[in-house]
């Protein structure tokens, strides 16, 4: 049940957003995130957008590895 999903915001209404993951769309709560805009990527859990994602991809980890080593 802890599944989290990164998805793209395609529509914003009051307090809710429609997110898209590979063409699968669903309305989720946007109440925990201010200033969400279409085009943003968010992490969705249990129907709530819980975090804005800086990067759609996990490329940041490359940087992390760079720094580490």
């Amino acid at each position: 049940m802890c599944v989290g999903l990164s998805a793209k915001v395609v529509k914003i209404s009051e307090g809710t957003a429609v997110v898209d993951a590979g063409g699968a769309k669903r309305e989720v709560s946007a109440q925990l995130l201010e200033d969400l805009e279409p085009g943003d990527y968010v992490m969705v859990h249990a129907g709530v957008a819980i975090a804005k994602i800086t990067d759609e991809d996990d490329d940041e980890t490359d940087q992390l590895m760079e720094e580490l080593l």
């Binding site: 049940m1 992490m43 859990h45 249990a46 129907g47 819980i50």
Partner: protein, 350 residues
């Protein structure tokens, strides 16, 4: 360092030749992904992965299922729930068993959907089975807020929500490094984890993709070799140091800490959250006056030990024989994210 720089995370892991190290995946989703990706096979023998208590379904005690069954059968309530809870055994029966007897059990994707169902079915009494850690609690609080806005008197939560910090305390010493659950940290931030280094507890926050997991493990191994307690946030695209202020505020506003029973760990003081007094109309325990139910787990089940990393699923006598995902004896075998279920699904040979 020029050459070393190019070593991939995978190489670091495979070639680790440091001291023996026990890494605990706190989060069930991590356990599952690590199995799915065959990462355990990459590990040298001195690196041991232990599955921790981070699956909300697994740590939910038998008595909670009994309460839900009671509501469904005795109070004729419509139960809305995440799918994973449906087959968790209660003392007498699971929710699937109750459904066979005519109980109304609906699987929903989110608490908001349960609230919406209650709105659209005013003739039914709807209870959402509220489980989860810091990540999920805000979603459940939001559904209650919405229910108040919609003036619903037929919606409430049966709560078994939990928080991680007290569990970390309880598990201190079970492992050398914690793989912190990324989505919990997305809400709580990283302060607590950083503080834990001062108590000598090391850990990294990990994401969920292959690259993120490998990186987090590599970082953990490299840092472990350095010999000092450490903390690294290896999931920065999602986890900010401060976490989600909005979620923290919401939870603070609506809930308060309470003692909570964890399967295997027993009651941990102040490790649960429940709705504050002003929201008690949405608290199913108060609303339906649920009698105190002392759930009885199957004595053969070692879920408790598994959840504490004290044993592996395969050490449980009934694992894979009496206890299978088809006939689960304990919660760890039911949930996809449970350690027993992962060991079973991906085979004993890993």
């Amino acid at each position: 360092m020029g050459e070393e720089k190019k070593r991939t995370a995978r190489e670091i892991i495979e070639n680790y030749d440091g001291a023996a190290v026990r890494i605990m995946e706190v989060c069930g989703t991590h356990t599952h992904e690590i199995f799915r990706l065959g990462i355990r096979k990459l590990l040298p023998p001195q690196v041991e992965l232990i599955s921790g208590p981070g699956c909300p379904v697994c740590v939910t005690p038998v008595g909670f299922i009994d309460e839900a069954v009671w509501l469904a059968l005795k109070k004729n309530v419509t139960i809305c729930t995440f799918g994973d809870l449906v087959r968790v055994p209660g003392t007498e029966m699971s929710l699937a068993g109750a459904r066979e007897k005519g109980a109304k059990i609906r699987i929903v994707y989110s608490p908001a959907d349960a609230e919406k169902y209650a709105l659209e079915h005013p003739e039914e009494q709807v209870v959402f089975l509220s489980v989860g850690f810091e990540t999920t609690t805000p979603a459940e609080c939001l559904s209650v807020k919405q229910a108040k806005k919609d003036e619903l008197s037929n919606y409430s939560l049966l709560m078994a929500n939990k928080t991680m910090p007290q569990a970390y305390e309880a598990l201190k010493g079970s492992a050398d490094v914690f793989l912190y659950p990324g989505h919990v940290n997305a809400i709580t931030g990283t302060e607590l984890c950083e503080d834990l280094t001062e108590e000598g507890v090391s850990g990294v926050v990990a994401g969920f993709t292959a690259k993120e997991l490998l990186t987090a493990l590599a970082v953990a191994l490299v840092k472990f070799q350095e010999g000092k307690p450490f903390f690294v946030n290896c999931y920065p695209r999602v986890v900010k140091p401060e976490g989600s202020r909005e979620a923290q505020q919401l939870t603070e506003e609506m809930t308060e800490a309470c003692d909570s029973e964890w399967r295997g760990l027993g009651v941990i003081p102040k490790s649960g959250v429940c709705l504050k007094k002003e929201w008690s109309a949405f608290d199913a325990r108060k609303k339906y006056n649920i009698p105190s139910i002392q759930g009885k787990a199957n004595p053969a089940c070692r879920c408790g030990d598994v959840l504490q990393g004290k044993c592996k699923p395969s050490d449980c006598k009934v694992f894979g024989k009496v206890c299978t995902p088809q006939h689960p004896v304990g919660a760890c075998m039911v949930s996809n994210e449970g350690a027993c279920s992962a060991y079973y699904a991906y085979g004993d040979n890993q």
